[in-house]
Symmetry: C2
Subunit: 395 residues, 2 copies
């Protein structure tokens, strides 16, 4: 009786989520300490102490009707001003509150902007491997996903194929840097090359091609590599942001869209995004959390915790003979499978109570993704299991 589209969705439901839910079952059987769940990007670092303080202070001292009431669909104006000012300070931009729309996380924001932009049949380009949910988000609005195949040497965009696959129907391109699932960070040079291709193609077709930068991992970067703020390099850039990772608040569903005044058809895009926020059923981003964000604008989580995990996992797994991309950002390790059957590799890993997600879920078959936003001790306990997994293929 359910919708035909949903039948497919239910069948092919998120492998990541299925794995996460299976992990909870296995934990009940084998004990939580004997299951090594690398499936989900659920931050293991606590939110900054300031988040707690801000919540208590707001709840104690501000007017309850204001805290929990309706506001403009785009969010509280003062909160949006704080965010715009903070971005300006960091990136030398001139954003105003009109350029910010508060959203129900980055997932909510991406749905809002795709609803705003897509006509049925419009093409949206992604670079493999990519966050698998993009498939559903694009399909929600009858867009066509166009996948650029991975450059397995660098996992940076394959520019030649990108150039060739842009058509007059290309409405948007989604980039995600720092990247889920590879941990790769695009340099300024890469962003400039992407912008060059896009500008050429916009001129060639006389169209607007929006670059949607999905940036929940912006602050999760190791070493000193800079993460370029893409609107500075390409006018038609719209940024989707989330505090899920940067403040460890994934359950609270709080983020924002940046729609710079430079984008084509700015007034309409902003108005339509506000309306889309409402009619998709979000109405507005959760009100208390908006206010918390404004108070915590300069806070960050301790990413040294993730860095320690990264070093341990990467160094040990490569030592065991696995081939991994060393991640510069985010908290995922992208690893080549042993043997030539991804499903079997994932299954074999599960025999050792290792929960890892097959790369096909990200359009990157022959690989697996491990979320290392987990307790350090779990990694330590999991290492012998990885060793056994390697040995199982060396026999």
């Amino acid at each position: 009786m359910i919708s035909e589209k949903m039948v497919d969705y239910v069948k092919g439901s998120s492998v990541i989520r299925a794995m996460f839910e299976e992990g909870q079952k296995l934990a009940k059987i084998y004990g939580e300490e004997n299951v090594y769940d690398f499936s989900l990007g659920n931050p293991s670092v606590e939110p900054p102490a300031k988040v707690k303080e801000a919540i208590v202070d707001i709840i104690t001292n501000e007017n309850a009707k204001q805290i929990h009431g309706y506001m403009l669909n785009a969010g509280y104006e003062d909160v949006r001003t704080v965010i715009a000012d903070s971005l300006n300070k960091k990136h030398g931009t001139s954003l105003k509150q009109d350029n910010i729309i508060m959203t129900v996380g980055a997932a909510g924001g991406l749905n809002v902007i795709l609803k705003t932009l897509l006509n049925p049949g419009d093409e949206v380009i992604v670079f493999a491997p990519f966050f698998g949910e993009y498939r559903s988000y694009v399909k929600n609005f009858e867009g066509e996903l166009v996948i650029i195949s991975p450059d397995t040497d660098t996992f940076l965009p394959n520019l030649k194929e990108f150039y060739d696959k842009i058509t007059s129907k290309t409405k948007a391109v989604i980039v995600n840097t720092p990247n889920n699932p590879t941990g790769v960070v695009y340099s300024e040079k890469v962003i400039m090359a992407l912008a060059e291709v896009l500008n050429k193609k916009q001129d060639e077709y006389g169209t607007a091609i929006y670059l949607i930068a999905d940036e929940p991992y912006r602050e999760i970067v190791y070493s000193n590599q800079e993460v370029p703020f893409i609107p500075k390099y390409y006018d038609n850039t719209i940024v989707g942001y989330s505090y899920s990772k940067s403040l460890s608040l994934p359950g609270e569903r709080i983020g924002y869209l940046v729609i710079p005044a430079e984008v084509d058809d700015f007034e309409n895009v902003v108005s339509a995004a506000g309306v889309a926020t409402r009619i998709l059923g979000f109405v507005n981003a959760p009100s208390l959390m908006q206010k918390v964000i404004a108070r915590c604008i300069d806070e960050e989580v301790d990413i040294e915790v993730y860095n320690r995990n990264r070093e341990l996992l990467y160094n040990t797994l490569t030592e065991y003979g696995f081939e991994c991309v060393k991640p510069d950002g985010a908290f995922y390790l992208w690893m080549k499978i042993l043997g030539d059957n991804e499903a079997e590799f994932v299954k074999k890993a599960k025999e050792f109570n290792l929960l890892i997600v097959g790369g096909s879920a990200f359009g990157g078959s022959g690989y697996v993704r491990m979320a290392y936003c987990v307790d350090y001790d779990m990694i330590v306990r999991a290492l012998p299991a990885f060793k056994k997994l390697a040995e199982a293929y060396q026999a």
Copy 2:
């Protein structure tokens, strides 16, 4: 450059929201105390004190990663159990946590269930006048809205027309009792009559027709009239609930769906609704608020405040010669216009700084809706303006 559908949406954007935003502008010009804004259903009663206590207690004593982290897409299992138990106690049902899906408000819940059920071209029946956003929610999934014309004597469902308009393509029927915009509450007898029609038509066509009960106003009822729990009368009922009004938390976007085990294709409907929650970009209902709800399950706001407003507004306006439906629930007054031009009546009202919403926004032309969830004193100050409005038509 925006999507063609959105061009229409932006043009025809919510009249209610437009009015609300205009009210804020007028308030800047004339002073807040001289603008009488009856446009938006933004509760004027504070949330119960227990909400504040619960937030502070949870934030102070529970684990921050748990409070703000991911959980199952359907929500925390313990929270859903508390809600199921509470419904069982009130209604004598046997719901379990599996029957509850936490949602981003009722608007989020309705979008989730419509995404779950609708194939393109499926028909969804609503009874005029109805909450105007249903149009967009149904259109989001390419459903066809079928409107049953109002019975202007009672504003109860026109059963004859309902019977005639159900077809083999009818997939869902939305009812909203206590009703926005009329304040009418459906009695048990009305619900039973609706169920009888639906059962007959299900048999006739061999289809499943889901009755979606949109119930954000369930607890906002005056007098002792009971609000029947519709799943007890019709097996294929799915309830959408929100704490926006019952706990005055509209900005927090917290509610739930009830999907009883009796509905056709239960397993698939529940699975698909969980997936829909994720892929529409909600992911899950805001986490802290889920926990707050569980602590405040027996709380309610002081509806005597709304009752006092209702009596003052209804009694005075009828005294001035306006024809109104006396509301039994919700916090809206549905009033017949003077003259025969709704747009002109609304405009004339605005000349007296009265912000009221034209009934056409609800599929009920010739009427206006006034949200009386406002300060009592504002109603007192507004009464002379209503008097002048009446006089303007008596000249």
